[in-house]
């Protein structure tokens, strides 16, 4: 059976520490754009932590939500791409073929999660910062859209490794950089088609739901609700 890669984000574990955000940048050659361009809204983060403030002082309440590409089954970014740069792989990834992309940015407009980022200029790594670049991940050029790949290079490497060892891929063999870094284990990755994988089990949790489920994108990331406690001693 083919694989269907997916993720579970446990909002009750997420502490907002942002280790995932830096880990992703380090793994995937995501460029920094500098103060001036960042001020123009051009900073690129494949994964970000959103925060939602509710209530007034002294009853302020904040909730963190890590948001990355949801690798939707019915991805709105795919049909709008005139060059098929945004397409669906057999194992359920929403992939971006950089050398097909001509930068129409239709996909970014179609994405309800605003997780697609455009390279407005040539990315710069001031020497010798470029020596850190991961040779297994393409550097995106000016005029190209980019976004989270679920660390496809790690998936490929793990598959190759399993093949070399003549065995099946095991649950936990693939960890995207964000999940690997996460201290509280709020991010979990795996094969949703394997009913016994940890990610498939957690995705069935009664705490689970999808981001903007109602728009019909069928995301492959399940968010487990943060629980709250009223103060009288019981979980709600």
């Amino acid at each position: 059976m083919s694989r269907r890669w997916g993720m579970v984000v446990d909002l009750d574990r997420c502490t907002g520490c942002e280790a995932c955000v830096v880990a992703c940048r380090a793994e995937n050659n995501v460029p920094t754009v500098g103060e001036t361009e960042a001020a123009r809204g051009r900073a690129i983060h494949w994964i970000r932590i959103e925060r939602y403030w509710e209530g007034e002082f002294p009853n302020a309440r904040i909730r963190f939500v890590p948001v990355l590409c949801q690798h939707c089954e019915a991805a709105p970014c795919e049909p709008v791409c005139p060059t098929y740069a945004s397409y669906h792989t057999a194992d359920g990834l929403n992939a971006q073929v950089y050398n097909r992309c001509i930068g129409t940015r239709y996909c970014a407009n179609a994405c309800p999660y605003t997780v697609r980022f455009f390279n407005f200029f040539h990315p710069v790594w001031e020497k010798p910062l470029h020596l850190q670049l991961n040779p297994e991940v393409s550097v995106r050029e000016v005029g190209v859209m980019e976004k989270c790949t679920f660390c496809v290079q790690r998936i490929k490497a793990a598959e190759l490794q399993a093949k070399a060892e003549a065995r099946e891929l095991r649950d936990g063999d693939v960890q995207p950089a964000c999940a690997q870094a996460c201290p509280a284990d709020a991010l979990l990755f795996g094969d949703l088609n394997d009913p016994d994988s940890r990610v498939a089990q957690l995705a069935r949790s009664p705490r689970g739901s999808k981001l903007l489920e109602e728009v019909g994108t069928q995301p492959k990331i399940t968010y487990l609700a943060r629980l709250s406690w009223s103060g009288d001693g019981e979980d709600r």
Partner: protein, 749 residues
């Protein structure tokens, strides 16, 4: 292969081809013969250690071959060498078990930073202008050796060492170096060093060290200003435990209440966030203890020594009724009673106080009150959640802040500085101390300052000679984490890659210097290299563990250290004699500046990206959106919207923040998570000099702090300054714009 596969493959390999580049000026460079052999495209993993905070997390560095531009024998060329590409947590390391924080993830940028100092430098221009010229190592070292001999001939008291607090082999080396020369003991400084809590733990429990909080066994956590999921103590270890505490134990979800004047990243995760008047956290602890002793009838003796330290404890703290405490803290009496009841109902419960709660003139009394409360709750000891990691060697340090102030006073006490030669290593006190401490003026009086720094920062820019250290991934590393782990740990790592530049490891430079100076130093420091020193330390550990020295060393190198994980070889846990038996009386915190003139309490806090400022030079962290505000690349001050409205200030406005000691300017971010009479600001920006990414960027909150201190330890009371604010114009905020317009998730349950 069909067309799809082909395109997929090209997408994956396009980057590699792009990197090699054609017509690149690299092609004109000569190629040096590789010093090691590598299989292209195959990664190896090597252990190292994160140098960025006292947690001491273990790292695994992913190393792959690449072409680096290096200088060899004065010629620039390309060298094929192993390059660290990515850092992960070391899964075997007991502190961080495979995980890292955001700063740890970014640490790899230190190696490849474009503004790293690439060879020894000597000062050319006026002091502080940053004008230096390259010198070779031999010249630099003979200059230093000559200076050192001269100082030793005149008076060894003229030598001073100033660094962050050291542990492990470096501490042994430096302290022995100085002691052998009859020079004064080293001066250690770190702004957020929590020496108040260490000292309190010595008085309460006989352990002068930071506690290990095993949250995975707790059912209830009450935090008092401790940012334990962000920057405080051992944040990765604590966040791992927190995940377990919330969702790792089916049917048992821990409760978490955070009490602090401004919601922190940690507080944002609490089930209940309670603002408190700054500096009254100790009163709250005493109020909770009062309820436990009187209403829940816990025996006063249950808290042992920790209770005896507190005046009035044995009488049941009669003055500390919830009503009296409510008056001081601003938290209603009924709420205090409820919190106390919850602590008992959800045992094991633990109270964690740190950061701003202890950075007050009454910080020690607060820490002691919390210690007594924890002891009363029975949560201190082998069953936790508060434990003390066995330490293989002494952890106590002379109170760091006080020793730095003593050094400054010594220098300024006479027209001609009695300190003639100052060695500076991994500390930036010009940036991280209040202006009234006069650190910059003092350093300016010292005739010869030597820095081992990898970067020019606010302090090292004053140096006369810069002898750049290797960075952590290029060095032999060791560490002895004092908390965040249950087994004793002595971390160890060989260099993960060869040095990129013409740098030398600080410990090896000290050993070289010792040989040049000769005499007693030769006997006291017999090691040829730091590696040899570490080997000797591990041989001693092996002997204690009854293990074969070679196998022990090899295993430690492979794992990233030694830890007593099977409980078999328990390291001795030094107990410190109680320094005093006297009782401490809780006093209200003293604040600098009158309420009338300076109506706002000023709350600096360790920033998520920069901690105390040491990582502000890393572009990944400059462009990291702060999790609560999304701000990047600058400073800001946080203000309650009601206060702002009253003062006619809007989000993004520039304000003057003025204390009795100075003024700074920064743009405003409005926050409903801060008390109306508090102004908060992250520490980390506002460096006068710190590479192209951080120099003259933003403002430094430490520059307006009053020099108040906790009297017994001399620790800076960095949360005890009052300020006034005034609109000064329109500011510039860089916020990350990505985001969904509303909470994208069905009602939380």
């Amino acid at each position: 292969m069909d067309r799809r596969d082909f395109i997929k493959l090209s997408a994956l390999t396009a980057g590699a081809a792009g990197l090699a580049g054609c017509g690149h000026p690299d092609h004109q460079l000569i190629r040096f013969l590789p010093e090691e052999s590598w299989i292209p495209g195959v990664a190896t993993w090597r252990p190292s250690l994160c140098p960025l905070c006292a947690a001491g997390c273990g790292v695994m560095a992913r190393v792959m071959e690449g072409d680096a531009e290096v200088v060899r024998n004065g010629r620039t060329g390309l060298l094929r060498m192993g390059l660290v590409k990515k850092l992960e947590g070391n899964p075997a390391h007991p502190v961080n078990r495979g995980k890292l924080c955001a700063r740890g993830q970014a640490a790899v940028q230190i190696v490849y930073h474009p503004d790293r100092i690439r060879q020894p430098l000597k000062r050319r221009g006026e002091r502080g202008t940053g004008e230096f010229e390259p010198v070779d190592w031999d010249e630099a070292l003979s200059t230093l050796a000559a200076r050192l001999k001269q100082v030793l001939d005149d008076d060894p008291a003229g030598l001073a060492w100033l660094s962050r607090p050291l542990r492990g082999g470096k501490r042994v080396l430096v302290e022995r170096f100085l002691a052998t020369l009859a020079a004064p003991a080293p001066v250690y400084f770190e702004l957020f060093d929590e020496s108040v809590l260490r000292w309190a733990n010595r008085l309460s429990f006989g352990r002068e060290q930071m506690p290990t909080y095993t949250l995975s066994v707790a059912n209830y956590v009450l935090g008092l200003s401790a940012d334990f999921l962000g920057t405080w103590n051992s944040p990765v270890a604590q966040a791992i435990g927190y995940g377990e505490f919330r969702q790792g134990r089916p049917g048992r979800r821990g409760k978490f209440v955070q009490v602090e004047p401004r919601v922190s990243q940690t507080g944002a995760n609490a089930d209940e966030w309670i603002p408190i008047r700054p500096g009254t956290e100790g009163a709250l602890a005493l109020g909770l203890a009062h309820v436990l002793l009187n209403e829940a009838r816990r025996p006063t003796t249950a808290a042992g020594t920790a209770g005896e330290r507190i005046e009035g404890w044995l009488q049941g703290l009669p003055e500390w009724t919830p009503e009296a405490v409510a008056e001081q803290t601003g938290i209603e009496a009924e709420r205090i009673r409820r919190l106390a009841r919850e602590l008992i109902a959800h045992e094991p419960a633990v109270v964690i106080a740190g950061g701003a709660a202890l950075a007050q003139t009454n910080g020690l009394a607060t820490a002691l009150a919390v210690n007594a409360l924890n002891a009363l709750l029975g949560c201190v000891g082998a069953l936790g959640p508060v434990r003390f990691t066995p330490q293989p060697e002494s952890t106590g340090l002379a109170p760091p802040h006080r020793t730095l102030r003593a050094l400054v006073q010594k220098i300024l006490s006479r027209p001609e500085s009695p300190v003639k030669l100052l060695l500076l290593y991994e500390a930036n006190p010009v940036f991280a101390t209040p202006p009234a401490w006069q650190v910059a003026a003092a350093l300016d009086r010292v005739p010869f300052v030597v820095s081992f720094g990898s970067f020019l920062d606010d302090t090292s820019i004053l140096a006369d000679l810069v002898l750049p250290d290797h960075v952590f991934l290029e060095s032999w590393m060791d560490d002895v984490p004092e908390s965040g782990t249950e087994p004793a740990v002595v971390s160890l790592a060989a260099p993960a890659m060869r040095p990129l530049h013409n740098t030398r490891a600080m410990p090896d430079v000290l050993l070289d210097l010792s040989r040049r100076v000769g005499g007693r130093l030769n006997e006291a420091l017999p090691w040829k290299s730091y590696e040899e020193l570490l080997r000797a330390r591990f041989d001693a550990l092996a002997r204690r563990a009854g293990a074969d020295a070679d196998a022990f060393w090899k295993q430690a190198l492979e794992r990233g250290g030694w830890w007593s994980d099977n409980g078999g070889t328990r390291a001795a846990a030094p107990r410190h004699a109680a320094a005093t038996t006297r009782q401490i009386r809780y006093q209200p915190a003293e604040m600098d500046g009158s309420v009338e003139e300076f109506p706002f309490h000023f709350l600096p806090y360790a920033s998520q990206a920069f901690y105390d400022g040491t990582t502000a030079h890393l572009p990944w962290l400059q462009e990291l959106p702060d999790v609560l505000t999304t701000a990047m690349w600058g400073s800001w001050v946080e203000l309650n919207p009601q206060t702002a409205e009253r003062l006619g200030i809007r989000q993004g406005d520039l304000v003057d923040v003025t204390s009795r000691h100075g003024t700074l300017q920064a743009p405003v971010i409005l926050s409903t998570g801060i008390a109306p009479d508090v102004v908060a600001m992250p520490v980390g920006q506002g460096h006068r000099a710190f590479t192209r990414y951080a120099s003259r960027r933003g403002a430094n909150p430490i520059s307006v702090l009053a020099p108040l201190e906790e009297p017994e330890t001399g620790a800076l009371a960095w949360a005890a300054t009052r300020v006034q604010i005034r609109r000064a114009g329109v500011g510039r905020l860089v916020l990350f714009s990505g985001g969904l317009s509303r909470f994208p998730h069905p009602e939380e349950r």
